[in-house]
Symmetry: C2
Subunit: 224 residues, 2 copies
DNA sequence: CTAATATTCAAGTAATCAATTGAATAATAG
DNA sequence: CTATTATTCAATTGATTACTTGAATATTAG
């Protein structure tokens, strides 16, 4: 075997990883999987893809070692194979940031005041939540909330936010979070809340990063 | 703008980064660029690609913000745009590792004893090199050596190794390194040296990682 | 100015990849 | 056993992507 050949083999193996994460739908699937294991059907529903298509993408990711599958009864549960995947995604996000600047600006234009927009750092939130100074609001769907959330967080999915405003306090700051630094749910929640006169901010990044940082996580009883 | 749309935009922007690093040749180019800036021509020669093809790949990477270009006279010098790129590559390598296992095994089968094969950690090498206990051998081509190397390292490109064995000591351990954890140059150098009765080992990873780790770097006078 | 050189651009072809469709597996319930 | 349901597989179609070729651009040297 020539060293030329070997080199090519190695590069193309590594490139495979890039190819696999080089597709929007697969990234979306990975972000959901970063929250916990999911069935094919659940993922298809969350992403809006067809089941067959979802299955194909998962197959590709399993082949390249990014996700794992475990079969239980009729269902196949997929999950991330390695924490390194989270790091890879965050590296990609950081590199994409310059191009996301335009997009971000649009998102931010929803929001009124610029300097109150600064997201609150994780450790600061943890501290203030423990002292009961803030209300932590998880705007993700209930399934995601159930499989892990910031301790003490209230779960109000974005869709229900408008009807459930009564549950939230006016006198205390509300900190919303969702899936990650570019998940728009929290942005929109903050925008809506501010429009209604609440004091609202976003948590920096989202839940997967919170977990990654080793901060405490609370789970609901039921896991699915 | 709907939040659905926005989400898609964000995912596809991030996926672009993946697509760009999802190609063996571009990875190879990035690894060369991790050593320092290079012209299109130089990169084409190093990789064996056509100039036009090299230029195209560089263009793609520049568009996605992974590399930067600076024009000086007739030449365009490319370099990495961000240290995050090194982290991204290393993340990809780590994830590819499971699949590289087969390849690695082949490489290692060149070598005789398995447990003497353990690469020497960077800090240990730094320490032992300072005490003059080891000979550090850089087997990369002279241009790469010139643009930065481990302090005190001797540069003997792999091709010249056989003729220049006299320059190396028998009584002292030799530690070889090249471009990274999967660069085969150092593997082959160690194999050749052992076959000739030298005590030889590899440095863990390679020079880009050494630099990344913040360890001291020495440069030769001439930069090209 | 013209010639030479490094790089980029544009068009064409071949290869690869994504999504859909409908059928095939596999596990469970009745 | 048969029916049902979740998932995967296989084949097709349309869309991207890679590489080559030859021309275009830009910079310098004479």
């Amino acid at each position: 075997m020539s060293s030329q050949n070997l080199k090519q083999q190695i590069y193309s193996q590594v490139a495979r990883i890039g190819k696999v994460v080089g597709h929007g739908h697969r990234l979306e699937l990975l972000e959901y999987l970063a929250q916990g294991e999911r069935t094919v059907e659940a993922l298809a529903k969350l992403t809006g893809l067809s089941v067959a298509n979802t299955s194909q993408h998962l197959r590709v990711m399993r082949h390249s070692g990014l996700v794992e599958a475990r079969k239980n009864g009729l269902y196949v549960y997929y999950s991330l194979a390695d924490d390194e995947v989270v790091r890879l995604l965050s590296s990609m996000r950081r590199l994409a940031e310059s191009h996301l600047a335009d997009v971000d600006r649009l998102v931010r234009s929803y929001l009124t005041v610029k300097d109150e927009l600064e997201p609150i750092p994780r450790v600061e939130l943890l501290d203030r939540a423990r002292r009961g100074l803030v209300t932590v609001l998880d705007v993700r769907p209930p399934e995601e909330f159930a499989s892990g959330h910031v301790p003490g967080a209230v779960n109000v999915p974005l869709k229900e936010l408008e009807e459930r405003l009564k549950e939230l306090p006016h006198e205390q700051e509300i900190v919303a979070y969702c899936r990650g630094p570019h998940c728009v749910l929290a942005f929109e929640a903050v925008a809506q809340l501010r429009a209604k006169g609440f004091q609202a901010r976003r948590l920096e990044d989202g839940f997967p990063e919170w977990r990654e940082a080793g901060l405490p996580v609370e789970k609901s009883a039921k896991n699915h």
